[in-house]
């Protein structure tokens, strides 16, 4: 085991054998044991191998949160490949882009994926291998250029030899980019295992635990839920109804003991007056990550869980799930600007602060740069982009540092506070949104360069787009175009046409003036 400690597939297989009869996943009142999941994942991994595709490309996972999709994730790793989640809630074009950027040729699809799958298969230039629970003959007839494999034909019992080494990608995710194309973030086995080892050493989980699962699979925080749960022999509890309004009853009905969500989920519960003292006494550990945690929410959650650990995690996908943590309890309540502290960088990892303009080291306050085993090697097939974000810092050795774009302050104890961004990236319910990506799309649609999106966070955060000139002046048409190309959380809520766009002295659109304009109204 020890020599395979950095290979995720080995660790999962070890857990599957060790915890055989425990429930690995439950969805509503149905559950799957570790042994049953191992059989399912092994069958899928044989089907993946039968497709005989380049194992350096990922296996795409398409579907709802089903037994097949979760088994498909393990199966990709068992087949010595990475997995790449697609998202049924994304527009077809977004999923399509992810497929073509990644070079994935194998798609594991569950029974919920029907319409999306068919739309993706209409692609004429590529031939995909589609792995399904059961292949319908009509599907083969309709799409003769693709290959269909039914997992029922791959019931060989033996495991396959895992060929990975630590540097191989374990999962590939995409995050909003500046240029209108999403950025591919390949996270290696070494990266994930470094994160898991830190968390497993710091907090204890056991076979009795019931883990929450609130994240889309396209969100890297879902990896925390799956892997920590399975390596601990616990049960991953999938909400049967994904409605965010039902999360409070989900915690109680499913007897969740380990919680993980974006702070937005807690804010929503608070707005519904469900975040009351002792409301969730079954939770022994609560993690939050993905966006700023308001101190009032941290406090209310602490009361709801009767003072048990509330942990605020911080970290970009490029640093693998999370890389700093702050435990919020009755004695430790550090905050700045009413936002909870993000704590100290994990001791196995490295960090420094820089002046974002000169890229020289500073102290006390600056852009956070990260180094160490959790940091990815660079973006997928984009050296130019990688060179922009992975840089040398004067006086900080030969190594490359990942520039997070997050401006932080550090106090005397080494605790960090998030102070804002240096670029046009914003967070909507924990999702990273680069406002320039929205602008690029709307520029193409309208034919004017004068497009600027801003985040209005005076109340519930929302995206507003200002447009001046252009041939398309129909806000409905513009929104429609956005809905065709962008995930739901990137769609502007309001389009505002202006006669004149305010400019700063550098000749760039002055977004601060636009924000001011909004508040003056």
């Amino acid at each position: 085991m020890s020599k395979n400690r950095n290979i995720l597939a080995h660790r999962i297989q070890y857990a599957f054998q060790k915890y055989g009869d425990n429930a690995a996943i439950s969805i509503g009142d149905k559950s799957l044991t570790y042994s049953a999941m191992q059989i399912m994942a092994t069958s899928i991994s044989h089907a993946i191998a039968a497709a005989q595709q380049d194992i350096t490309t990922p296996v795409a996972i398409l579907g709802a949160k089903s037994f097949l999709c979760f088994s498909g994730i393990c199966a990709s790793l068992f087949a010595s490949q990475a997995y790449m989640p697609l998202n049924l809630k994304f527009p077809v074009s977004r999923n399509h882009k992810m497929l073509s950027l990644s070079g994935a040729k194998v798609i594991v699809a569950d029974s919920h994926s029907g319409t999306m799958l068919k739309q993706l298969l209409e692609e004429k230039d590529t031939s995909y291998y589609v792995i399904l629970e059961q292949v319908h003959p009509l599907l083969e007839k309709e799409f003769p250029q693709h290959h269909f494999l039914s997992i029922q034909h791959f019931q060989e019992p033996a495991d396959k030899k895992i060929l990975n080494n630590g540097q191989d990608t374990a999962y590939l995710l995409f995050t909003s980019g500046t240029t209108g194309s999403p950025k591919g973030v390949p996270v290696s086995n070494d990266n994930v295992c470094a994160y898991l080892d830190h968390v497993l050493a710091r907090w204890s989980f056991n076979e009795e635990d019931r883990f929450s699962q609130t994240f889309d699979l396209t969100f890297d925080l879902s990896v925390h839920d799956m892997m920590l749960c399975w390596l601990s022999g616990a049960c991953l509890c999938i909400p049967e109804d994904e409605s965010p309004f039902k999360l409070a009853s989900y915690i109680r009905d499913q007897m969740i003991s380990v919680w993980f969500s974006v702070p937005s989920a807690a804010i929503l519960m608070d707005k519904m007056r469900l975040l009351k003292a002792d409301a969730f006494t079954g939770l022994r550990l609560s993690f939050f990550c993905g966006e700023a945690l308001p101190e009032t929410i941290a406090d209310k959650w602490l009361q709801a869980v009767h003072g048990r650990d509330v942990i605020n995690l911080y970290g970009p996908a490029e640093a693998t799930i999370a890389i700093s943590a702050y435990t919020w309890d009755s004695e430790n309540k550090k905050s700045k600007n009413a936002v909870a502290c993000i704590g100290k960088i994990f001791e196995e990892q490295e960090y420094c602060l820089i002046d974002p303009d000169t890229i020289e080291r500073t102290s006390g306050k600056g852009e956070l740069c990260l180094g160490g085993k959790q940091i990815i090697g660079g973006y997928l097939n984009d050296q130019e982009l990688s060179d922009e974000y992975f840089v040398h810092v004067q006086g900080s050795g030969d190594q490359l540092w990942y520039r997070t774009g997050d401006m932080v302050e550090e106090d005397g104890d080494g605790d960090l506070f998030f102070m804002g961004r240096r670029d046009a990236e914003v967070k909507i319910s924990g999702y990273r949104v680069n406002l320039f990506e929205i602008d690029t799309l709307i520029r193409q649609a309208t034919g004017t360069e004068l497009v600027a999106s801003i985040l209005d966070d005076s109340k519930t955060p929302r995206i507003l787009t200002f447009i001046s000139g252009g041939s398309l002046q129909d806000e409905h048409e513009i929104i429609l175009r956005c809905r065709e190309e962008l995930p739901w959380y990137m769609i502007p809520e309001v389009i505002i046409f202006v006669d004149e766009m305010p400019m700063n002295i550098n000749g760039k659109i002055d977004r601060n003036k636009l924000k001011q304009k909004l508040h003056d109204q």
Partner: protein, 88 residues
């Protein structure tokens, strides 16, 4: 308190969004889902409920609502507001 008055009030607040989505108020059925349709996200929906609570001087019991499947629909929401108001 009539259902129609509440419905009109909700649609009044949503006017800007409906225009943006090119949805004709007159064509909206009671089962039109304000969240699943993409018109509002969950946070914006709860903000809308909070506005309605203030307008009608009521406090909705979300604990009970969580079990209902149609409280995010236009008719469902109007009914909950009406029932809460009339129960006072």
């Amino acid at each position: 308190m009539t259902n129609k008055k509440i419905r009109d009030y909700i649609l009044g607040i949503l006017n800007e969004r409906l225009l943006l989505f090119d949805i004709d108020r007159g064509e909206l059925n009671d089962d039109f889902d304000l969240v699943k349709s993409g018109l509002l996200d969950s946070m914006a929906f709860i903000d809308l409920v909070a506005e309605a609570e203030e307008e009608f001087g009521i406090e909705i019991d979300f604990e009970q609502l969580a079990d209902s499947d149609d409280f995010t629909s236009l008719g469902g929401l109007a009914e909950i507001i009406m029932n809460t108001k009339n129960a006072e």
